[in-house]
Amino acid sequence: MVVTVALGTAPAARAQARVSIELWHALANPLGKVLEDIVAGFNASQSTYRVTPVFKGSYTDTLAAVIAAFRAGRAPLIAQVYDVGTATMMAAKEAVYPVYQLMRDAKVPFDPSLYLPAVRGYYSLPDGRMMSMPFNSSTAVVWYNKDAFRRAGLDPERPPRTWPELRVAAQRIRSAGAARCALSSSWFSWIQLEQFSAIHNVPFATREDGFGGLDAELRINGPLYVRHLETLVEMQREGTFTYGGRDATPDGLFPSGECAILEASSALRARVVREAKFAWGVTFLPYYPDVPGAPYNSIIGGASFWVMRRPDATPEQYRGVAEFFRYISRPEVDARWAMETGYLPVTFPGVERMRALGYYRDNPDAWVAYQQLTRTRPTPNSRGIRLGNLPQIRIIIYEEVEKAFQGKQTAKQALDSAVRRGNAVLREFQRENR
């Protein structure tokens, strides 16, 4: 009896004092709800740690909040930072706790080779050591309205693969009046320049797109880029392409049926499934067939989890972070996240599990994203973009491209201007992080 009582009180005391870890993220519902479920699953699977997810707004707002909190010595231990913030985080060596080091210090088994190369490479040092924990990785795909295709006399099961084919399809859609808008693109900078550079294997910037050093320079005014932007401007003038605004603002144009074809993140899936009242399909990003070797693999977007340093953090808390990372890397958790949200699985076991469950057989559109990401081994031009202040550079690109769409400057002038202004931003980042 005494033994039972003694054994009974000790675990109860431990369970009451769960080690608390905050996770700041930028996922609004429905994605945020799935993340909360996963975190709840981790909390229920053990009784030592409790991770508390906190929604902080957009990726930009979340990063700004993390930076402000760090400056006040109160950073969250886990921060979700978007892909374009990677260079900023990597340069802040004293502010982040690299994942490879965390897992080693916490003695939690960790095998980087389980992660898809395209995913792992984006968030690692050049020698392969992983700095952050991949979580939600997407890539860009083409969403198309099969009903609109039928109305325009196009075969809904054979969507266009190349830019010339896509342009013809868009023209047919417009002339048949099958949709008010034929083609648009979300995340214009990410898809029409960054992804574009990867699938055509042309550099976005020197120094291996910035992986090689802070002295990289932009190369987005090369002949292929100019030709592509000119094509889009022409298409806009002929009514086949509609510029829908910045970032994810054009997302709504597809599920509402307004635009028949939308280049957007693969993570748009949750919205499309929920809102689209027509038959839809997914296909690969279009490419220019005269570019040798095209199409190459696309690059990831999305975000990863960074571990922040904090003066009053305890080793127990960091151990909890490591355990949480171990949990989300489990094949069943990785697969569940991917299946419920449309993001890609980030580990090979996760992919295998989804295949075994028949998910890809029942959802061929999800297979498109995975195929596109892994169809070739990443080249120096298709590993990802690691440039400082990339959010600022994207804004510059938006501004210059918008002026081109308004007819205020030619495509070449826009891209030259973007390179000039963007390089100034890169030099400032280099100066600030010497």
């Binding site: 930009t60 700004a64 930076i67 760090f70 400056r71 900023t88 340069a91 802040a92 060596k93 004293e94 502010a95 008010r180 808008c181 509609t242 510029y243 829908g244 605004g245 910045r246 603002t249 709504g252 144009l253 509402s256 307004e258 202040n389 959010p391 600022q392 804004i395 938006y398 501004e399 918008e402 002026k403 769409f405 308004q406 205020k408 931003v425 400032e428 100066r431 600030e432 992080n433 010497r434």
Partner: protein, 294 residues
């Protein structure tokens, strides 16, 4: 002869002022001092490295064509906003001042928009004027007007001004109404008896007597246009397209929180503070003598 208020207790006036002074120190003086100190450094995003650059950030601002562009946008935006809101509010106040059935209802409805938060007002305008999903936006395009504020800078500036003005008109309306009601009817009647038409009555009697209100509202509206329109711009255009709606205030936010150039952002807010202080000082000096205190 100025009236003086005399406190018998020596410490009471300080005690009464203390809360307000504390707020002013914590929420204005302290951040202002931090902005001043941050403006002379170049730092990385996380504040791990800081380099003293003296006036380097300020010099960089005034040689930056984008900063001068934001200055131009701000001047255009605020002058238009002040003119439009004052004119509209005055017209509505004159109309609502007349005795008529339902006057109380009209006045309440005219005041209502001020209760709407700026970001909500901006989203309302978005749902009205977006070229693809907005009611009026689509109507305009269907009738041949190439309305597209996501691409056309002028349209964007017009829309942002409209969204910012919509609720500010209510605010001005209240003050103008109160000002009109404070004008003795005997003066207005005397002028009409003397043979002045309504227009003459307005310009020679009513408007001069409204000048304290007008002067006050010009100052408040200018400050509103400079500082409180952030929410509207962020929710509608985020400074775009191009930099067509990027006011000085919005640029402070973009440079500080999106581009993480805190030194440049701090320098910009110091410049902004100086500009507004100068503006207000000039206004008080030059317009003061035109104000007729009844």
């Amino acid at each position: 002869m100025r009236r003086r208020v005399v406190f018998r207790n020596r410490w009471l006036p300080y005690a009464l002022l203390a809360p307000q002074l504390a707020l002013t120190v914590v929420f204005f003086l302290w951040p202002a001092a931090q902005a001043l100190s941050q403006s002379v450094y170049v730092t990385d995003a996380f504040g791990l490295r800081a380099r003293f650059v003296g006036l380097g950030n300020f010099v960089a601002l005034f040689t930056d064509p984008l900063y001068l562009g934001a200055l131009r946008v701000t001047i255009l935006f605020s002058l238009t906003l002040v003119a439009v809101t004052l004119a509209a509010a005055l017209g509505l106040a004159l109309a609502a001042n007349r005795p008529m059935p339902g006057a109380a209802v009209y006045r309440t409805l005219l005041v209502w928009p001020y209760a709407v938060a700026p970001a909500v007002a901006a989203v309302l305008m978005l749902f009205l004027f977006h070229p693809a999903i907005g009611l009026l936006g689509r109507w305009l395009r269907a009738h041949g007007v190439p309305w597209d504020y996501t691409l056309n800078g002028t349209h964007a500036l017009v829309l942002v001004t409209l969204a910012a003005a919509w609720r500010q008109v209510s605010y001005n309306f209240i003050f103008f109404l109160a000002g009109l009601q404070a004008i003795p009817r005997s003066l207005v009647e005397a002028a009409s008896v003397d043979g002045a038409g309504p227009g003459r009555v307005f310009w020679s009697v009513v408007f001069p007597l409204l000048s304290p209100t007008t002067f006050f509202l010009v100052v408040v509206n200018l400050v509103y246009a400079f500082f409180d329109t952030f929410g509207v711009i962020d929710a509608l255009t985020k400074g775009g397209p191009g930099e067509a709606t990027e006011t000085l205030m919005y640029k402070v936010y973009v440079d500080g929180f999106i581009n993480h150039s805190l030194g440049s952002s701090a320098a910009q807010s110091v410049v902004l503070m100086t500009v507004v202080v100068l503006l207000t000082a000039v206004q008080f000096r030059h317009l003061e003598h035109r104000v007729h205190y009844g």
